[in-house]
């Protein structure tokens, strides 16, 4: 048995503790970057292990299920570990100018603890472990928002904390209902016992499922529950916005989907009206998110509302309950993560240089900051779903999934919403390159710490757009592992 899954978590946990201790002697930022780079290598090794030896379960202290705590190392875990650690590394390399206040080393501690939560949550195979990683994620994510010494950020963090804690309370209540009905917390054991428990305690399990949907819905900003997101994502520091929008909200969807597919399983999903509920909420979210994004004048707020719409695509993929649909959802988790972090980093760079957050001030920016605006445009085009960019691939597979599920209506919805995306992303790109603008700021060029992460993320967006073969195959295996 190899110990790679736990090593990734221990690496982040250890570094998070070491950084404040070594703060005077080493650069906190480079220690964090080193930890993320090492974790990326470890997740690469873990992927290689799974490719060679197949998927496996990791047991803590060799206590086997259902007594020990289990980690599932399947293709979903592997793919998401690579994504999380890659994006985390890019964001950490980018972190420089904004974080110059006194608590610098604590910022990196929080960031790495958040990475512990994200890496743990995608492989947790036990309801209580899922709860704990969720709480760790909530606490560190809120603290990262509150780090910026600004009233609006503290307020956004408080709103986020109250609503997320409400979500955690609901999730814990759901867990206790499931535990009452089955006496089990391990997802594999639940998969075997829940269908028979459903015949005895149908209401326990129904209520638990709806509590999970609402609880994880709050945390992942599913449409009517998204009210905390715009403030928290737009007011905070650029690296915080980037990791929140690209990873944090989505990892909760993965946790919810793992519970739905691996604990509830096909037999229960076919009895409960879960797919209909998810599809309805997703449809509302796709349109509402896009329409609200159109109304914004602040670039970071617009990106935040766009996240609400994109999150709904992932819920749509899961709600379709077909292999291709789930695969499209997974692809969108990865592709949207990469392009949204790219967009936030580019927008943050522009805001830092010009001091303006207004969308209209981006006119003519293509001449003043060509590299930043080019990578922003790559992200924007990918978000719209132009062929040749990664956003197109995931939307294509979502549409295939809708066809496979026999619901062609959702193909129309995906097309319409792409049109809506085009309405608010394309004018920015067009105006940046084809219209004059008045800018009076001194432009001293990008430092390599800013340029390299953005270029790397942009390169991955184009690479997965032009040559999606490897990623699509991996996502296919991941979805096949969840839906037998």
């Amino acid at each position: 048995m190899n110990h790679l899954p736990i090593l990734i978590i221990l690496l982040y946990l250890g570094s998070a503790l070491l950084i404040p201790l070594l703060a005077g002697r080493f650069s906190s930022r480079w220690l964090a970057v080193a930890a993320a780079a090492l974790a990326l290598i470890l997740s690469g090794l873990s992927a290689w292990h799974v490719a060679e030896g197949g998927t496996y379960s990791y047991f803590f202290g060799s206590h086997s299920a259902p007594f020990g705590v289990e980690f599932a190392v399947d293709w979903v875990t592997v793919l998401l570990h690579l994504t999380i650690n890659f994006i985390g590394l890019a964001i950490l390399v980018y972190c420089n100018k904004e974080i110059d206040f006194a608590i610098q080393s604590w910022f990196y501690t929080l960031f790495l603890l958040l990475m512990v939560a994200l890496n743990g949550l995608v492989m947790a195979y036990d309801l209580f472990a899922i709860f704990l990683f969720t709480e760790l994620g909530t606490l560190t994510a809120c603290a990262l928002v509150a780090v910026k010494p600004k009233a609006l950020c503290v307020e956004a963090a408080f709103k986020y904390l109250i609503l997320s804690t409400l979500g955690s309370g609901l999730i814990l209540l759901g867990i206790s209902l499931i535990y009452m009905a089955t006496g089990n917390l391990n997802l594999g054991a639940l998969g075997a016992t829940l269908p028979s428990a459903y015949t005895i305690y149908p209401w326990n399990i129904r209520i638990a499922l709806s509590l999970f949907i609402v609880g994880f819905g709050i945390k992942s900003a599913l449409f009517p529950l998204h009210i905390w997101l715009p403030d928290a994502h737009s007011a905070s520091l650029t690296p915080t916005s980037a990791i929140h929008s690209s990873l944090v909200v989505k990892i909760y969807i993965i946790a919810a989907a793992r519970i739905i597919f691996q604990a509830f399983g096909d037999s229960l999903i076919s009895v409960l009206p879960l797919p209909q509920v998810l599809l309805l909420l997703a449809t509302f979210g796709i349109f509402a998110g896009s329409l609200l994004a159109m109304l914004q004048t602040d670039i970071k707020r617009m990106l935040a509302y766009s996240t609400v719409a994109q999150i709904s695509y992932i819920f749509l993929g899961i709600g379709l309950m077909t292999k291709t649909g789930v695969m499209g959802g997974l692809l969108h988790v990865i592709n949207h993560g990469i392009m949204k972090s790219l967009l936030f980093l580019a927008a943050g760079t522009i805001i830092a240089k010009t001091g303006s957050r207004k969308i209209e001030d981006l006119s003519g920016m293509g001449y003043r900051m060509p590299l930043t605006m080019t990578v922003f445009s790559i992200g924007a085009l990918s978000m719209v779903g132009i062929p040749g960019f990664s956003g197109y691939v995931s939307k294509l597979y979502l549409a295939f999934g809708a066809m496979e599920a026999g619901k062609p209506l959702f193909v129309v919805i995906i097309l319409l919403s792409s049109l809506l995306n085009a309405f608010y992303y394309l004018p920015i790109v067009v105006r940046a390159f084809f219209s004059p603008g008045r800018h009076n700021f001194t432009w001293d060029g990008l430092s390599w710490q800013e340029a390299v992460p953005m270029l790397a993320l942009a390169a991955v967006t184009i690479y997965f757009g032009l040559l999606p073969g490897v990623l699509v195959n991996l996502a296919k295996m991941a979805a096949a592992g969840w839906l037998n």
Binding site: F128, L132, A146, A151, V154, L161, L173, S176
Partner: protein, 120 residues
């Protein structure tokens, strides 16, 4: 009917407490009361879990000569972890309230919204 209610009394009580906490958290504009509501809600979930692990006539799960039935120890262990999580959340929420008070000079959510509207 009464028998069913009596048998499920702890769960009904937990539900009631949960709703009280939920209501406090969402309707009160005082931030400290919101944090209190949050705590009441969490406590209700703990009561619920604890009640689900109770075995009639069971003693504490410590092996001793002469005792045959024990209460289920797992929910208690889970709650122990839950309490720690709840404690850290409360501490963090209160520290945010302190910060907000420094910025706005009030702990009332409506008042903060009003002050924010004036800034913009």
């Amino acid at each position: 009917m009464f028998k069913a209610i009596f048998a499920n009394l702890p769960f009904l009580a937990a539900l009631l407490v949960f709703l009280i906490g939920f209501y406090t958290m969402l309707t009160h504009s005082n931030l400290i009361k919101k944090v209190m509501g949050l705590n009441i809600m969490e406590t209700a979930v703990f009561l619920f879990l604890l009640a689900s692990g109770y075995v009639g006539g069971g003693s504490a799960p410590v092996i001793r000569a002469g005792t045959k039935t024990y209460v289920n120890p797992l929910p208690s262990a889970l709650i122990l972890t839950g309490v720690v999580v709840g404690l850290s959340l409360t501490a963090f929420a209160l520290s945010l309230v302190v910060k907000l008070y420094k910025y706005y000079g009030t702990v009332d959510a409506d008042e903060i919204m009003r002050l924010r509207g004036k800034d913009e």
